[in-house]
Each structure stands twice: as C-alpha cells, then as structure tokens.
Symmetry: D3
Subunit: 168 residues, 6 copies
C-alpha cells in the first residue's frame, strides 16, 4: 500500500518527523508531498523545504520527497496511493482535517484518509509555534530535527533581522 504524507513543512518539525517515521513503518512506500499553497507566504522556499525533508528522511529507504502544485487528491491518484496520512494534534486540527477528508472522498472515494495521533510530547508543536519562538530569538533546538537545527535557525534569524530593519 502506497501512502502520501502531505504538508507545508515550513519548516520541518520533530512532530512532522514523528508522523513520517510512523507512516513509513505501517505502509510499503511513503511519498512526502510538499504542497504549494498560493495564498501563504512561506518562510522557506519550496526547494529549501524539499532539501530539509530529504536530509531528515535520508535513512528511511521507503520514503521519497516531492513537490506538487495541484490538488492533493490528484497527487495521490497520480502516485497510485491508496491512503493519505495526516497527523492530528488538537480538536481544531481534527475538524479541519475531517472536512478535507470528506471533501477528498467525494472527489475520489477509492483513496482513504487515515489519521495518526501526534505523540504527546509534540502535541503543542507546529511550524507556526517554531517560527513564532524563533522570531523573538527563542531557542527552537528541541522542536526541529537535530541535523536541520542550524539551517533553520540561521534562516529564521535572518528573516527576523530583515523584519526588524524594515520596522525602523
């Protein structure tokens, strides 16, 4: 069974890695899909996000990282996937994901959405929290994969000083 792990990954967190690792343990093949969102202004470029994910999943032989500029459900069909995997943290996550899962099923009933629960120590963790802490100079070491720590910090610090300069 082929599975898709979609997301923005802006940036990758240890919570993302937890879900990808567990999906790779359940399914034969996992495609991590960096989705293009025309409305959002990401902190990291698509290329940076793909590279971060490739570094962080280098040891996982059944995981591949790709980008997709279209409907997630079409990507899943294109790869021959039977399931889309999503990690859940809080109830508000669940509601939104629930709606998207029902919408996707109405488009392609043969592809299932399955949910995994985030491990409890990552429950508060999101890319937004990481960016928020970094934007004030806080330490994000515990929240991102060890091998990406420096590149993520450097990039977010740079953005922070640009924003502060723009402010004055």
């Amino acid at each position: 069974m082929i599975a898709i792990c979609p997301g923005s990954f802006d940036p990758v967190t240890v919570g993302h890695m937890d879900i990808i690792t567990r999906a790779a343990g359940i399914f034969d093949k996992v495609y991590v899909a960096v989705l293009h969102n025309p409305k959002k202004h990401p902190a990291f470029t698509e290329e940076e996000r793909v590279n971060m994910l490739r570094t962080a999943t280098a040891e996982m032989s059944n995981v591949e990282v790709e980008t997709w500029d279209g409907l997630l459900i079409d990507y899943a069909a294109h790869k021959g996937a039977g399931v889309i995997v999503k990690g859940l943290r809080a109830v508000s996550d669940y509601e939104y994901e629930f709606q998207m899962a029902l919408a996707n099923r109405s488009l392609r009933p043969e592809i299932e959405t399955v949910f995994l629960t985030t491990s409890s120590e990552n429950m508060f963790l999101s890319s937004s929290v990481v960016k928020q802490i970094a934007s004030f100079g806080g330490d994000i070491s515990a929240f991102v994969p060890a091998e990406l720590r420096d590149v993520i910090k450097e990039r977010l610090m740079q953005q922070r000083s640009e924003m502060q300069n723009g402010k004055h």
Copy 2:
C-alpha cells in the same frame, strides 16, 4: 415571522441552498443578506453574488436577496425580522456563531438567532473548499447549484490563470 439568512456566499454552494430552502419552509418570509466584509477580498463581486443567489432562489416565492453594508443585527431590525438563521456544520462553526449570537442579543434582545444543522452530505462543504478545489482545476460540479455551475467555474478558472500568470 420574518427571517434573515446572512452570509458572504462567495460563491453560493449547495450547502447554502439547503439552509435557505429549509428556512423558507419554516418562516413566512426569508431575506438572504449578502453582507459586506471590508476585511475580506471576495472572489466574486457583490453584484455577482446577489445575481447568483437570485438565480438559485428564483422558484422560492417567499425569498428575497439583498445586500447590506452594516451590522447584521441592524439589518434584521430594519426588515422587521424576529430571527436570524445560521447553518451549522462543525463544532468550530458553532463556537464562533455562539459568540456572535450572544453579542447580537446584547445589542437587540428581541431578535433571536436560530441554528439549523447542515445536512450530512454537505457537512464538509464551504465556499473556501469550493474555491480551493477550483484553484487547482478540480471539479466543483457536485458542490454548487446546477444552474450556477458554469458561471462559477468560469470565474474561478479565470482567477486561477490570472494568479498563475502573476506568479511567473
């Protein structure tokens, strides 16, 4: 009893039509109010949205469509309405609507907010989902009223190609 069905209707979905139809079955007269939201940048102009709604409600003799650039509760008072009708899908909807209902009651206690549950097959459906699917070229036929299908598709496709051209 006169009722108000307020919304952005950007664009109209079969979920909206479900709520309007049922409100028209319960109350003597229903005003569908296209509200002006200064913060949002709608995909369809106010005029387009009014026209879509008029087309879709043409057969309902006790329904009228209007726009209002002000507080919803003042519009309700202006039309002599006793109730505001809102459709509920998920819990997060409910929380926001609950707060607005309490705020409206503190302003005008004589006007009630009543909630109808969206029918289960429309539970995932929102104008945002329709726009998101259309923005990637997905098929929205099942999500919008049949008589508006072509006009909605054309408009969203046009926006999509504008956005893509802007991107390159």
Copy 3:
C-alpha cells in the same frame, strides 16, 4: 408553525424557561413534551414535572405541556409540528444534539430541528447541577423558577435525607 420543546425537566430550571419563552415568541404554538426515558431514574415523577411546567408556563397562551412515551420525532409528527426546538449551552451539548438532529431527519425529513443559544447567565445551568447543589444542601433559589422554588427544594431535600439515611 407548530414547535416542540422536548426534555426531561427533572426539575425545570430557569434555563428551560428561557428557551420555552423564546420559542413561544418565535412560533405560533409550542408543545412542551416531557419525554419518558426508561433508562433514567428521575428525581421527580412525570406528573410532578408536568405540573411544574404547567405552573411555570401558565401565563403563556400558546404553550401546552404534555408527556410522550415514544420517539420524539413521532410525537412531532402526531402534533403536526414542523420544528423541534433545542437549547444549546456547551459544545458537548451540541455534538449530541447534532447527532440526534441528523438521526431524526433521516427518519422524517420534513421536520426540522432548530437550536437556540442559552442566554449567557444560564450557560452553566442544568437539571443535574441543580440536583447536585441541592443534594449537598446548597441554595438553588437562583436556578429554578420563583414559583417552583419551594416545591423543588422540599422534594430534593427529602431525597437527600432518604439517601443519607440509606447510607447509615
């Protein structure tokens, strides 16, 4: 339009009266239905609950109180009602009521369930809270209709002393 206000009313609270009063303001005729629940052991007999409600609604000319030992939706059909009215307090209320509303619509699509929001000062109020406070000798005066205060207090105090005697 005929409406049904169903419940256990064990006992009647000012929160119940708030919903009944507002339903009576919106709809032409309101039947308050004291439902028989074979699983629950009520603190007040069906007759006592009907009498309490009749006392509390004596001034409302378009309200009648009845009991029903069957499916709520069949009662609504039997009375020619087009709507069932439910008051909502919290999110957990909403979820249960949402499921019941969908179940009822699948049985009789022509009868709508409409929800009213409890006024904010009654948001914490339920028959269970009243019974819990009374069971420890707390003052429930603010939580039940003034004209029922004495009969409700007396009854719950009596139960309390029975329970305490049974305990020793």
Copy 4:
C-alpha cells in the same frame, strides 16, 4: 500489515461495516475483535454479536471475527497486528479515542492506532441510537446491514416488550 477493528458491536450498524470494509481495503488482514466490557450490560450476547459480524463479513476474504476478554493492546500483540483501526464520527469520539491511543502507545509503542473518518451519511449513527430508536418501535432498517435486519429487529422488539412488562 495486520489490523484490528475493535468494538462492542451491540448491535452491528452500517457505520461499523463501512469502517471494516475500508480497513479490509487498506490492510492485508483484519481481525474484528468483539471486546468484553464487564461494566456494560449488552443487548446482544457475545455469541450473537460474533455471529452477526460473521454473517455481515462473510464475503470479505481477509476478515476474521473473534472475541477477546482482556486489554485490546494485548490482543493486537497476540495477533501480530501493527495497527488498531478506529472510526471517528464526532469530536467527542475523537477525544476519548485520542486518550486511549496515547495510553495504548505508552503500553506498546510498536502498535499504532489509525483513525478513519466515518462516511458522512453514517455520522449520526451509533449502536446506542439504533437501540434507542428500536426501543420506541421506530424503524431501524436504514441503520443496520440488510442481512441482519430481521434478527436485530426481533431481538430489540423482544427486549422492548420485556421492559414494558417489567414496567407495569
């Protein structure tokens, strides 16, 4: 990958069958586990529930039905399963299931809990709703598998008349 679909199935609903069918489409082998719950007084005996499930899953070659009187997570380990599959309807479901999933992971981290969303037309459906409707003589035909309709109706009607006789 071996999966477990646990539940009380008291009685089996079309919602249960939806989840079992989809789990059987995703995983190589599915064990449907009728769990013993010492606290609940089921309407159907364990044997009846197993027989209902065997009838309803007769056509699914990779599904087996068993009972288990112990911890679910121990059953999963005993069968060599890597995943436990749960269907989600509402937010309140999710909260409880989330807690159980975290508890199970703390006991056996190698077994994952995955969630599937109930299809929207079954969202209000539960064994309790079926029993409640049947207990008042309502029609449950649309809520249970066609081949089990008669046996479930007969059993619940019998209980109903016993309860009514006990009442008088």
Copy 5:
C-alpha cells in the same frame, strides 16, 4: 493565598501528583480534598484514598489532605481558600469544569477557580484509564506514584479476581 485541590483520587495518579505539586509551588497552602460522591461506587475507600494521598504528599510541607462530604465551594469557604485548582487535560474536561466554575462563582463570587494544564506526558491519564488497564491485568506502574504502586496494584487485582469469580 490558600488553595483547594479537589478530586475523587480513585486511585491517585501521577497526573494528580503533577497538579498538586505545581499548585503547592504557586500557593502558600494547599488542601487536597477527597470529595464524597454519593452516586459513584469507588474502587478505594475514602480512608484508603486519604492514606494514599498523605503518603504521596509526605514531602510537601504546605499540603494537607482532608475529606469533605458536601459542596466543594462550601469546603473552600470553610478553609478560607481563595482559589480552587483544577487540572485540565482534554476539551471535554474543560467544558464540564467550565460549567462547574461558573456555577461555583454564582454561589460564592469571592472564590476563584484556576486551571492548570496537565503536563503533556500525562494528558491521556485518568483514574478510569488506570482502573481499566488494571482490570485486564495490564501494567500500571508508569501511571501511579512509585510509592503507591504495590498497594494500588494489589487492591485492583483483588477487585479483578472478585469480579471474575462473580462472573462464573
């Protein structure tokens, strides 16, 4: 400022100890109140629960353990407490606690209810989960204070064998 930590503590979990410890760090004096609930049939006697808590809080110089057979808010007033401290895990907890906090404020506005968030590793943990796992012979070592492990296990195993004997 004097604070009350109320609960059933049936049995004490590491989640309870986390909240008590943190309350003792914030407030001058903490009374842990083992509340009598006439409706529930506890697994441990009131005396056993008080003894467990006294053992587990022996090192905390500003914590005392007592029982109370009455309204929590009256106990708080009786001890001269200004705050009631409750630990929150999930959203469903929050809703119930929110209602009780509003009810208590309506009875005694001078006493505040403050909420602490359970630490993330205890988020799934409750006395019910502990009893459920123990009732099937699962290992509860990680869920209860180390010094109470043996006494809790022994008691719950004993109950389990009684229940099994009663079954046959």
Copy 6:
C-alpha cells in the same frame, strides 16, 4: 507570587478588566504586558493601549502596565514571575492557549500558566467583536471600561471614516 497578564488589548474590553481584577485579587503583584505582534496591524498604537490600561487599572495598587517586544516567557522570567494568567472564553480559545502553555513550559518549566474563566456575561466579548461592531457604527458602550468609552469610540469612528473614504 508575581503574575503576568499578557495580551494585545486592542482595545481594552470589560472582559480584560475582569481577568486583570481577579488576577490582582489572587496574586501579590500583576504585570499587565502589552505584547508586540509584528504580524498584526493594531487599531491602537502601543502607547495608546498602555495608556488605556493605566487609566483603567489606576485604582489597583498591585498592578503595573508595561510593553514587551519579545517572547512572553522571557518577559515573565525577566520580572521574576511564577505564573502567566490567561482568561478563557470558548473551547477554541482553550486549544490555542493549551498549546502555547505547553510550548512555554518546554522553554521554562518553572513558570506556570494558569487559566481563569471569563465571567459568563463577557463570554462572547473580544477586541475583535468590539472593533467589528464599531466599524459598522454600532454601540460598544457596554463592552469597554466606562472611563475609556469616549477615547475608544472616537478612535474607531475615525478609522471607520478613513476606511470608507479609502473605499470610494
């Protein structure tokens, strides 16, 4: 015990004052922190918001108002505070605050986040609701502190006419 009451206060509402007043009754010293949010475009300048809060808290001898352009948790450490106080209204509030509380604890475990429940009459009230009502010319008198009524109204009316002029 020193406590922090953080927020945007854009503008101050009677709901904010309720939480600040109650925090000042529980803790020895309360710092009200006007946080800088680089992403939001506030309606009131930082200086205006500090002045509003100083006016509204003038009578509270243990309350001080300050601004902070950094991580809240660093501000708390800087002031020697042991607790951060947050008011909760709805479930969606709670989810976000819960995540932030867990994130803050992972950064500095020695600082606790405590939650107070908003009094029921302020449950729908937020700075956004105030601004939304004002932007349509509605009366916000009941929602903001009496002594700030005029300055808040004047400012929001001015913004409203600027927005309307920009529109034409």
